[in-house]
């Protein structure tokens, strides 16, 4: 085993406090400030993790209403993503589209969210009808907003309606005020807007940490792939930092509502603001976990040093790093963007958690980047990360291996409000289309989108932010580009569909799934679309060979999506579960589930809420919400087997060069899996045999997984499963009845 060793002397000497400041922008925003309406409320702190009320805001009429959290909501939906889905279900009808005023953006942390004793406990879950998928999207994001909202008095925030002019919603949990404001001269892009609003709404220096801003940027106005930035104030750097609710275009919905920003000013955070049922247990588990990080992380993933970027070189070594639009799994230049580089480029003398108490601290920051292009050319900025997804998506998948280019792409995605994962896959698709003649200089309006041309990539992004040119088309996302390119007669429809890496309208995240059938399902058989937060099974399946049968794969595709859904019900981050492993884990039964950490989560939930659960009930809690979401998809006219179809690029080699690049592997599979003699076959015959085998086994996987999940062959949860889970509400049954027939 080869592992990067941390050498402090190699960390670049960059002053983490130096960056371009935006005083003039702050003055201009302040001068233009106009209060439209102010409503008082009584701030309150949670009791056993819940404030027991939520806030509904109509940004069109400026009406504000409090709603009680019912016992049924807690029992069935828990919080976070569960609350978001439940409120969204009530807000919309099957006819509602993403840009109708009744569509909502719901933000909720969850009952355990905001505790400070354990790592990864400050997450906000954001739910809306996605402009890309037209079904609910959920996104799990760091930053302080969700916990500060809860400590102000609300378990969730519903945003409905559409404003006439750009609006700022300010929730002051110290004074008990909700204010609608206009700041016509406020900047647009997040890195400036977040900084300006944090300083505008904080009453003094010490108050800066109590402010969190939710915002997006210029590109969200002109694309379907807009993202939301959730801020926190980084005391040591003296600047505002961001985490992103990236997937599915939530930022686009935000701008469609004419929201410019949400600002929450919460109370000074303390260790027991959740008023947990059993603080002592939280404290003990937390201390044990912090100690585990101190002792084990330096020899395991080095999350504190590298963040998630530690797997760049690992994915490359296992032929899993997406290269050139998911054609290949490794590249000779990967070393230029691997963790050894990021370790030296990211500041290491600071605290990088996106919520208090995160000892895993993966939110790295690359300071001192001087921008070479765009409206902020010449500015010195701090860039979040880059995380693995950004290094892989913006980097290797597009053939970009210059780290400064990668950081600049990362920066502009963030400040313009675009999802980096989505942009990576969008741009990789465009570049492959360019390489294959589906696009050319004329069709792109002069952008030479050859592999690795970061300048053209950036220019396309700047165009999108300006709402111009080919950038506007890129902002439609892969699904709509495929339809457009086919409609224009620009290329072979089958090729375009095969290489466009989207499912349900959402772009794939950055792992190569061709050699892991379980992961093909882990991507395509998801509720919201192909994002690895439901299941990441490549090692279990492809490397460990732990899932040899279809039934084994189906079991993994039952358990892990439910286990990981649970993080989003409670305000947790996934990473502290399995990016560090306790001593003695190897001797445990089912070590890949990290049993000690699962027990930590069971205990954290019980100790916060006072509701005793076990690891089986944890899975049931998720299953209720997961199946409810599936029915929600069906209600919106999707959510069936046909919508779980996967692009062939995710299942196998589409092109001759892909096949030839891994010929030994593919030929070998023909022999061992299909009993064919590759030497007696033409390349076309071999590729056709692979295609038939690979698509056939994916279809079979769907059958077995659906059965394990308690769904019909068409992917519809059965009456029995809905009843067993206690979500057989009349309005749920009404959705499935036309598909299932009347109950027996």
């Amino acid at each position: 085993m080869i592992q990067v060793v941390f050498d402090p002397s190699k960390v670049m000497d960059i002053d983490i406090t130096k960056r371009t400041e935006y005083h003039a922008e702050l003055d201009a925003a302040r001068a233009s400030r106009k209060v439209l309406k102010e409503v008082a409320f009584t701030p309150s702190l949670p009791d056993k993790g819940y404030t027991n009320r939520t806030l509904h805001v109509d940004v069109g009429s400026l009406a504000v209403a409090e709603k009680p959290v019912t016992q049924q909501m807690k029992d069935i939906f828990i919080g976070g993503r569960g609350f978001g889905l439940w409120y969204l279900w009530q807000a919309v009808t099957p006819q509602t589209r993403w840009n109708d005023p009744e569509n909502e953006i719901v933000i909720s942390s969850g009952p355990v969210g905001g505790i400070t004793q354990y790592a990864g406990t400050g997450k906000s879950l954001v739910v809306t009808l996605s402009p890309q998928t037209e079904i609910p999207i959920d996104s799990n994001v760091g930053g302080y907003f969700g916990p500060l909202l809860k400590f102000s008095g609300f378990d969730a925030l519903e945003l409905q309606g559409k404003a006439e002019r750009d609006l700022i919603l300010f929730i002051d949990g110290q004074k008990g005020l909700i204010r609608f404001e206009e700041l016509p001269d406020a900047p647009v892009d997040s890195h400036v807007l977040g900084e300006v609003l944090t300083r505008l709404y904080a009453e003094n220096e010490a108050d800066l940490v109590n402010i969190s801003v939710v915002s997006t940027g210029a590109a969200a106005d002109h694309s379907l792939i807009g993202m939301l930035n959730f801020s926190w104030f980084d005391k040591r750097r003296g600047c505002v930092r961001f985490k992103q609710a990236g997937r599915g275009g939530i930022g686009t919905v935000f701008r469609d509502k004419r929201l410019r920003a949400l600002v929450c000013r919460g109370p000074q955070v303390k260790g027991d603001l959740n008023h947990p049922a059993d603080f002592e247990t939280l404290a003990k588990i937390g201390v044990k976990y912090h100690k585990e990080i101190r002792e084990n992380d330096p020899h395991q993933c080095m999350m504190r040093r590298n963040g998630t970027a530690h797997i760049v070189e690992i994915m490359d070594a296992y032929d899993l790093l997406p290269v050139h639009n998911f054609q290949y799994g490794s590249h000779p230049e990967t070393h230029k963007i691997d963790s050894a580089y990021w370790q030296s480029r990211c500041a290491q003398q600071t605290v990088d958690g996106c919520w208090y108490g995160c000892s895993m601290a993966c939110a790295k920051g690359a300071d001192g980047l001087v921008l070479k292009t765009g409206p902020y050319q010449g500015h010195m900025v701090t860039v979040d990360g880059p995380e693995y997804e950004n290094a892989a998506g913006l980097g290797s998948n597009c053939g970009v291996f210059d780290p400064d280019d990668l950081l600049e792409l990362n920066f502009y995605c963030d400040t313009y409000g675009i999802c980096t994962i989505t942009w990576g896959t969008v741009c990789a698709f465009i570049m492959e289309c360019y390489q294959r003649g589906i696009l050319n200089l004329e069709r792109t309006g002069g952008l030479d989108l050859s592999w690795g041309n970061a300048k053209a990539d950036l220019e396309m992004m700047h165009q999108m932010a300006r709402g111009e040119g080919f950038g506007r088309i890129a902002g439609l996302g892969v699904k709509r580009m495929k339809a457009l390119f086919i409609a224009n007669g620009w290329g072979d429809p089958q090729l375009i569909n095969d290489i466009g890496m989207e499912n349900k309208g959402l772009e794939y995240s950055q792992y190569l799934s061709k050699e892991s059938l379980a992961q093909q399902g882990g991507y395509a058989l998801t509720n919201k679309g192909p994002q690895h937060d439901e299941a990441w099974l490549i090692f279990m399946d492809m490397v460990n060979k732990q899932l040899p049968t279809f039934e084994d794969k189906a079991e993994a595709l039952y358990y892990f999506p439910l286990f990981r859904t649970w993080f989003g019900l409670n305000g947790f981050c996934k990473l502290p579960w399995n990016d560090v492993v306790p001593k003695g884990n190897a001797q445990q039964p089912e070590p890949h589930k990290i049993p000690e950490h699962v027990q930590n989560y069971v205990d954290l939930f019980s100790a916060t809420t006072g509701v005793k659960i076990d690891k089986e009930e944890l899975i049931n809690q998720s299953a209720r919400v997961y199946n409810f979401q599936r029915v929600f998809n069906i209600r919106m006219g999707k959510g069936l087997r046909q919508h779980d179809a996967a692009p062939y690029r995710s299942l196998g080699p589409v092109t001759e060069e892909e096949y030839l690049s891994r010929q030994e592997r593919y030929d070998g599979q023909l022999r061992t899996e299909l009993s064919l003699d590759p030497d007696a076959m033409t390349l076309q015959e071999k590729m056709a045999a692979h295609r038939q085998w690979r698509t056939g086994r994916f279809e079979k996987l769907m059958d077995v997984v659906y059965a394990r999940r308690g769904w019909t062959r068409d992917g519809v949860p059965t009456y029995a499963r809905l009843k067993e889970l206690g979500i057989d509400f009349p309005e749920v049954l009404e959705v499935v009845r036309p598909l299932l027939g009347d109950p027996a």
Partner: protein
Amino acid sequence: MIRVNGDPLDWREGLTVQGILEARNYRFPLIIVTVNGQVIAKPDYGTTRVPEGAEVQVLHLISGG
């Protein structure tokens, strides 16, 4: 010959766990290695000799964003 995660690997005199990891390019840090069902501690990878015919399991845990 030995088997590593079910697949054959040529055995040679003096083959260690470390040697297997290098032969397979298993670079991931969160792994659990068993040789004939016995868990091998990480500090012992370089010194643990793997016998001919052994069943070796290199269990990769999960990581990443």
